[in-house]
């Protein structure tokens, strides 16, 4: 047996105060009112959500605010069973990439309101392009959790 050498435990925990800026402040203020805001580039016509200060494709700031319906279709998903430090909730839970109606990108969020025990049934419910809609959190704090999750639409 190799000798077991010692280790020393130390934790690094640092506080941060991140600035949202005007675009993302407005975006999160919108969530508080149950409104998802995107921005549409007046040059290339692409719509991104969350809203952007500038168009990532054209690098111009010619963007206009557009309301986005809180519904869309599933691009991809996974059932998370892994655990790690600081994880936001205990597994199992489902994360997904959702293309919201009228937008040109994926929106990252939870899928809820479904049973996770039976994988076959889950796959059937969350098949390619399955429709989902936002379920709002009754208590809002102007952050991403104002949307509790997206649920499949029957």
């Amino acid at each position: 047996m190799a000798k077991e050498y010692r280790t020393i435990r130390n934790d690094v925990a640092l506080p941060y105060q991140w600035a949202l800026g005007k675009t993302w402040t407005r975006f999160f203020d919108g969530l508080k009112e149950e409104q998802i805001w995107g921005t549409k580039c007046t040059h290339c016509s692409r719509t991104y959500v969350p809203a952007r200060t500038f168009c990532p494709d054209c690098f111009t700031d010619r963007t206009e605010w557009v309301p986005v319906k809180p519904e869309g279709k599933i691009v991809s998903w996974t059932l998370v069973k892994a655990t790690y430090h600081g994880q936001v909730k205990p597994p199992p839970y489902i994360i997904a990439l959702i293309q919201l109606s009228g937008t040109d990108c994926g929106f990252h969020h939870f899928i809820g309101g479904v049973e996770t025990e039976n994988i076959k049934k889950l796959r059937q419910k969350l098949k390619k392009g399955a429709k989902v809609k936002a379920v709002w959190n009754p208590e809002k704090k102007a952050d991403i959790y104002d949307i509790a999750y997206f649920a499949p639409v029957k």
Binding site: Y84, H85, H108, D143
Partner: protein
């Protein structure tokens, strides 16, 4: 391309749980091995490049300070480069640029990670933006699994077929690692074991996922003049490509994956490669996840889009197949992340110089190495050959 550049020496640690050494000693292990391999001393080194994952991984900031002595960097110019998983390719490119520019004759490039000391998934989650996506990251498995699902949906790959091919990739990488004394995981696994392993992020299971490893790799780059003087069999850099894409996951098409596709195209153009599947003799592809390895086969132009599972199932990329991939056992069996992309390059160099021991692909002359980093954001490719 700049002036001709060759790899004249490589050094790898035994990768795995290395609680027998502190982090700087682990780094030094790779550096001394590379110097011995090249037959040179620290005096010959003009500059040093280091790369690791973000500082949260081990909790020590700016590790090029921490490793100054271990890398032999005293009184030498030092650079640090970080691009997450693709760090190893980025620092290799940095070493290449430094020598190709004519500003240095010999450069030491070092990549390292000591993942057993921190929380890898928590660290990787900090790579996501703090407002929108970090919550939904679920570490590396979460995002890479969603990419794999997107790819299977896009190309209508049946679940069972994807599962079968991914299991085959796991089995062959584990078999290959048995030939590699540096590899972290050295156990054979069966198809059934892979398919029934516990779920990490469905459909990805434990044996579809790389380990968290401690390890370091050092590679020495030299100018044509120095390489010809010092080294009997250098590995020549034939081409390289590196591309990045949008930060927000979901903003770019990960089933097609522009950065991987274009990085490879650029490297092939420089190397004069038109049909990579035919012309390459071996490839070391960054494969922390079995399903993702198939997306890489397609992006690197080794098979048509959506057909990677068919190619895998007919054995194209296995040992003895048309293009053996990851004869080292790959990232799937050892992943000290900051070192991993450089390990791919070192392994490619060993292959084209006939120094790969039991994992040697007979007569290999042209090899591809690759790594991916961030939230599927960066891809780097380097091609090495036995001839200038």
């Amino acid at each position: 391309m700049g002036k001709a550049v060759a790899i004249i020496g490589t050094g790898q640690t035994k990768h795995g749980r290395r609680s027998d050494v502190c982090y700087p000693d682990l780094v030094r292990e790779s550096v001394t091995t590379a110097l011995q391999d090249a037959g040179i001393t620290l005096k010959d080194i003009d500059g040093v490049v280091l790369g690791t994952m973000p500082s949260m991984m081990e909790g020590v900031s700016s590790t090029h300070f921490y490793f100054a002595e271990a890398m032999g960097a005293l009184n030498k110019p030092v650079m640090k480069v970080e691009t997450c998983g693709s760090t190893g390719q980025s620092i290799g490119h940095c070493g290449y640029y430094w020598v190709a520019s004519g500003m240095a004759d010999i450069v030491l490039v070092v990549g390292s990670e000591k993942m057993s000391e921190g929380d890898g998934q928590a660290t990787m989650t900090t790579v996501f933006d703090p407002f929108f996506q970090r919550t939904f990251a679920a570490g590396a498995p979460g995002v890479f699994t969603m990419q794999s699902m997107e790819w299977m949906y896009r190309f209508n790959i049946p679940e069972d077929k994807g599962r079968e091919a991914a299991a085959m990739i796991s089995v062959s990488n584990h078999d290959n690692a048995m030939d590699n004394p540096h590899a972290h995981i050295r156990v054979r696994v069966t198809m059934d074991e892979v398919k029934n392993a516990r779920i990490i992020t469905y459909p990805v299971r434990l044996l579809d996922v790389c380990p968290a490893s401690d390890g370091a790799c050092a590679v020495i780059f030299a100018s044509e003049e120095k390489a010809k003087k010092i080294c009997k069999k250098p590995a020549w850099i034939k081409g390289l490509g590196f591309r990045g894409e949008e930060f927000f996951y979901g903003e770019s098409d990960k089933a097609i994956w522009m950065s991987a596709t274009e990085a490879a195209k650029e490297a092939y153009k420089q190397a004069g490669i038109r049909n990579p599947l035919k012309e390459l003799d071996v490839a070391e592809i960054y494969n922390p996840f079995t399903y993702q390895e198939m997306i890489f086969y397609e992006c690197l132009g080794l098979c048509p889009r959506g057909e990677a599972p068919d190619y895998v199932l007919k054995g194209t990329f296995k040992k003895g197949g048309q293009l053996p991939c990851c004869p080292s056992g790959g990232t799937l069996c050892s992943n000290p992340i900051g070192a991993t992309g450089l390990i791919r390059l070192a392994e490619a160099a060993l292959q084209v110089t006939g120094k790969a021991g039991a994992r040697q692909v007979g007569g290999a002359k042209l090899a591809l190495s690759h790594a991916m980093g961030g939230v599927d954001q960066f891809n780097g490719v380097t091609i090495v050959g036995s001839k200038l």
